[in-house]
């Protein structure tokens, strides 16, 4: 299991190169989150603030929970903070397991919890001004399925 919180960019390809390899891994699932421009194309940048003293602990707790609930051979969580321009990678998770169902479910679980339980806050700076991204009810609701 590896959890990284960093300002700099990361390379999902390089991260996946040897991820979860071993005779027991049959399935590897990865998710990469990318800064999406708005429909008007006016997003200049996104600023991600976090709570450093809490972030790593929270991410480890979420990853531990995933490993308790599913049979995983490996888990990777990377989350960035700071200034990101449209098209930049924000974060990724990867899961490795014997069968596909565990890897898929664990990856979705990790994403749902990262969205609403990891101490990150996004601010969008557009041509019109700056706004904190509001939490969405559907993201909170997504936790109920687990």
């Amino acid at each position: 299991m590896r959890v990284q919180v960093q300002e700099e960019n990361f390379d999902p390809s390089a991260e996946l190169e040897h991820f979860g390899r071993g005779k027991d891994t049959g399935a590897v699932v990865s998710f990469t989150g990318i800064v999406r421009n708005n429909s008007e194309g006016t997003l200049r940048r996104m600023e991600i603030e976090h709570y450093p003293e809490m972030t790593k602990t929270a991410l480890h707790q979420i990853a531990d929970q995933a490993q308790t609930r599913w049979a995983l051979n490996d888990v990777l969580v990377i989350h960035r903070y700071g200034r990101l321009t449209p098209g930049a990678r924000i974060m990724m998770v990867a899961t490795a397991s014997r069968h596909r169902v565990d890897a898929f479910q664990a990856a979705e679980f990790l994403m749902d919890y990262l969205k609403s339980r990891a101490p990150f806050w996004k601010k969008e700076i557009t041509d019109q001004g700056a706004d904190w991204v509001a939490a969405r009810d559907e993201d909170e609701d997504a936790l109920n399925r687990w």
């Binding site: 989150g33 603030e49 709570y51 003293e53 809490m54 602990t57 929270a58 989350h79 924000i90 974060m91 994403m111 990262l114 969205k115 609403s116 339980r117 990891a118 101490p119 990150f120 806050w121 996004k122 601010k123 904190w132 991204v133 509001a134 939490a135 909170e140």
Partner: protein
Amino acid sequence: MDVLYFAWVRERIGLPREKVETDAGTVSELVEELRAREERYAAAFADLSALRVALDQELADFDAPLANVREVAFFPPMTGG
């Protein structure tokens, strides 16, 4: 006790963290004390349903006790991922 503010809570109050001397028994009591300080605190804590709190880096409820807590953090619902 260290009190930390993040995102728009930080912006409304105008600082990221401060030392607070308090006898508040619970988070709610601490919020009441802060609200009474100045308008910017009252504005930040106007709607508790829009806020979350962590005690020593663990999410908690507003009625949680503050005994032995060293660090309280207030922030809006998280938007990671």
